[in-house]
């Protein structure tokens, strides 16, 4: 299975979700240059939008994706948020998906529920299997 990259602010919600997934994952630094990735990855990002939806995508995620090579390796996005924010719930996922032409794979609230963990684990396994067979087909 390919990579999982995530950002979590010091509230730790996204980090707690990723930890419970039990999958190997790379945490983006709060400051400083983003890592250079070398394999396809799914991104997990929280949302920090104001009431108008501005500023939804955290800056460390923007820095990661402004790197063309990293962006080309992005396959999908999983977004965190809070339904109390209404239409801007998990908006970071939509913004990233639109910008990078990848699907929003899943949305969760805060640190996610048990149901979310099960669905994300199963969904990622299916997703990467499908990606792999697609690659095989193109190469055949």
């Amino acid at each position: 299975m390919a990579g999982l990259v995530f950002f979590s602010s010091r509230s730790g919600n996204t980090a707690r979700l990723v930890e419970r997934l039990g999958l190997e994952a790379l945490r983006l630094p709060q400051a400083g240059p983003p890592p250079e990735l070398d394999a396809p990855f799914v991104l997990v990002s929280p949302t920090f939008a104001d009431g108008e939806g501005r500023g939804a995508v955290p800056k460390p995620v923007i820095r990661l994706l402004n790197n063309t090579r990293n962006r080309a390796l992005l396959r999908g996005v999983i977004a965190g948020g809070n339904r109390n924010f209404g239409a801007t719930f998990a908006l970071a996922g939509e913004v990233i998906a639109r910008k990078c032409s990848v699907p929003v794979l899943y949305r969760f609230e805060l640190a996610g529920t048990e149901t979310d963990i099960t669905r994300i684990r199963a969904g990622l396994a299916r997703f990467w299997a499908a990606q792999e067979s697609q690659t095989c087909l193109t190469q055949a």
């Binding site: 109390n84 924010f85 910008k99 899943y106 529920t113 149901t115 669905r119």
Partner: protein, 325 residues
């Protein structure tokens, strides 16, 4: 002769260009951008809808709103100010002063609903009802006990997050229920503004709680966690009875309780703790979830869908300024 006592301590002038914690500025910006007043919402468009509720439904709605007003009043006058005394950074104090003021705006908003839709006598009666309601008074007392100046800063924050992220929801359910039936939709818009604010308040106070927890010993951390779960159990007991009293008549009690479980778990997550209620008991009526965040479920995500395919388009070049800061 010179006074021998220590000179009065003067606080340092706050410098927002020297932050100890970036979260303070982030939350300040979100709260100030989100600032609103009830005058912004055309409540009078609900007058006709109000007249179509039965007298019992009207009474219930006014009572629920006086209950919410009480919680906002407590958070405005006692909760946020008492947290200010424990602030670690001067910027945290400023954020809390914004939170305190917005709680006053929320409390004010319910009176705007009342003056637009209701008779003065009905409203006065409902305020008397809330002052006498044993469950409302009991939950207020449990919170206020923790807000006492002598209480621990961490316990105050636990109580505050439970008020912001849990206790409001037995009340918020009703306007979301009306909204899901196309009733009182402007009032629901106003409530959604309050819900949005309370979500940021719960998140921020929970965040500061987590920072505080890092500074104490393992034994204290365990003690605080035990305290938090015990307080939540006590509050839940009261909320369950309050819910039955309010909603049995409409046959909605079980649905409201699921909404309470769902929000209790979110309150715990704001504190950095794991959920208490199992997912099966948190299945909120989809109509209520849709009323809570209208439009947010129009785009189905990939893992929940029936495996529908997607088209990968050509990626755009991105620069920082593209991303809407």
């Amino acid at each position: 002769m010179k006074d021998m006592t220590q000179p009065r301590a003067v606080p340092k002038a706050i410098n927002w260009n020297r932050l100890q914690d970036d979260k303070d500025l982030e939350i300040w910006n979100r709260l100030t951008v989100n600032f609103w007043l009830p005058e912004k919402v055309p409540l009078s468009n609900d007058i006709q809808s109000w007249s179509q509720l039965t007298p019992d439904e009207q009474t219930l709605t006014i009572r629920v709103f006086t209950g919410l007003t009480l919680l906002d009043t407590i958070q405005n006058a006692v909760g946020a100010p008492t947290l200010m005394q424990d602030a670690i950074t001067p910027h945290e104090e400023s954020v809390l002063s914004n939170i305190a003021f917005m709680e006053a705006v929320h409390a004010r908003s319910y009176s705007s609903v009342f003056s637009t839709l209701c008779q003065t006598t009905e409203v006065d009666e409902a305020f008397r009802w809330s002052a006498d309601n044993e469950h409302l008074q009991a939950k207020s007392r449990l919170i206020l006990d923790e807000y006492d100046a002598t209480a621990s800063p961490l316990r105050k924050k636990v109580a505050s997050v439970f008020l912001e992220s849990f206790l409001f929801y037995s009340g918020f359910y009703l306007p979301m229920h009306w909204s899901s039936r196309a009733r009182l939709t402007n009032t629901a818009d106003l409530i959604r503004l309050i819900i949005r604010d309370e979500a940021i308040h719960g998140y921020y106070i929970g965040y500061k709680f987590q920072r505080g927890l890092e500074r104490v010993s393992e034994a204290e951390r365990k003690e605080i966690k035990d305290f938090a779960f015990a307080l939540l159990f006590d509050l839940y007991d009261i909320e369950a009875r309050y819910t039955e009293q309010l909603y049995d008549g409409l046959g909605l009690t079980e649905d409201v309780k699921n909404f309470l479980h769902y929000n209790a778990n979110k309150a715990l997550q704001n504190l950095g703790f794991e959920a208490l209620f199992p997912d099966e008991s948190c299945r909120v009526n989809p109509a209520i979830m849709a009323a809570l965040s209208p439009g947010s479920d129009e785009n189905h995500d990939f893992f929940s869908g029936s495996g529908s395919s997607y088209v990968i388009g050509k990626a755009e070049a991105t620069e920082d300024e593209d991303w809407d800061f």
